[in-house]
Assembly symmetry: C2
Homo-oligomer: 218 residues x 2
Amino acid sequence: MLLYDYFRSSAAFRVRIALALKGIAVERRFVHLLRGGGEQKQPDYLRRNPQGLVPALELDDGVVLTQSLAIIEYLEALKPEPRLIPDDPVCAAQSRAAALAIACDTHPLGNLRVVSYLETELHQGHDAIVNWRTHWATLGLAALEGLIRPAPFCFGREPNIADICLAPQVFYAERFGVPLDAFPKLRTVAAACAQHPAFVAAHPAAQPDADQAPGQAP
Amino acid sequence: MLLYDYFRSSAAFRVRIALALKGIAVERRFVHLLRGGGEQKQPDYLRRNPQGLVPALELDDGVVLTQSLAIIEYLEALKPEPRLIPDDPVCAAQSRAAALAIACDTHPLGNLRVVSYLETELHQGHDAIVNWRTHWATLGLAALEGLIRPAPFCFGREPNIADICLAPQVFYAERFGVPLDAFPKLRTVAAACAQHPAFVAAHPAAQPDADQAPGQAP
């Protein structure tokens, strides 16, 4: 399998964590979201993922899977252990809900393409962008704080799909100076993730395409 | 089970379709998103769903499930037939990806709280809001057009989780005048959904809380 990846993408970070937790090795191709006007907008990439977003997972038969959470559910079916989604339907729903509170209601609002639209189409300046990022990130993290019950991971002693979404959102918060002081549960989980080998291996700073590119990637 | 519902919420509409497809009856309590400053922001509702969003599904033991896609996966576990997520892992990933392309990358950007922020915090006027809605809705629908293969539903002869997300987004597009002319596949699916009893029963116009309230609910 071949993962189309970008070190600083929250969604790609999620898939890297899931692959590391499952112990699944993949080839990688790096899609730089800022270089050359955005490699994700090139025809060659759009043929694989018409959304022009990373990540995408190309299977050995050429089929391309998109959307980080759909890819993670696929990996769960491919190699069920360790479980990333609990067996119990209520626990599964609560874990997926925490993941979706990030993936649907938080992360997309602070994404590169949205911030670019605010800057270029709505002519918003630095302060307005900072406020926008902080507002939605804080709202999302506050919601998550109400949904999880750390022990020390979001829903138990082992990380699951909720932690996989939480860690990249905490990375985003730290990167953009969004305070976590009001969220003790999140900080407990974030500390546990920071010690876990799969999260360490998947961290943006540990990726071969990590660079010092300026600008505001997602 | 008790569904916290609002007729015009895309996310609640998804859960209503899933319940209708599965033939699962629930009690309902209506949470009016505009009345009284938003009933979803009242302490009584926030105790159930700290995100302050609809829908939420309260189980008979009092546990509350949130996030429409997590609720739909729960319903799938509760009553597996008819399948809303294909058995085949690749088909499942493709169906979930189409659903997530709407639920993560399209719907949240045109949601009530985001449009309210643009109006009140960023002082955007009518035209800018129309452009914002049209831009993200069109981008999302174009992505979906590239992800589905109607027959006549998104991925086959029966509707699944992708159709459940598509129909409310088409309703949103029609409501806000976003043209569908460039999307023949979406129009094929939308026509099939419009004929299907579960989609008809779940439609906003058919709900007991449907009203003529002014303003721009999600």
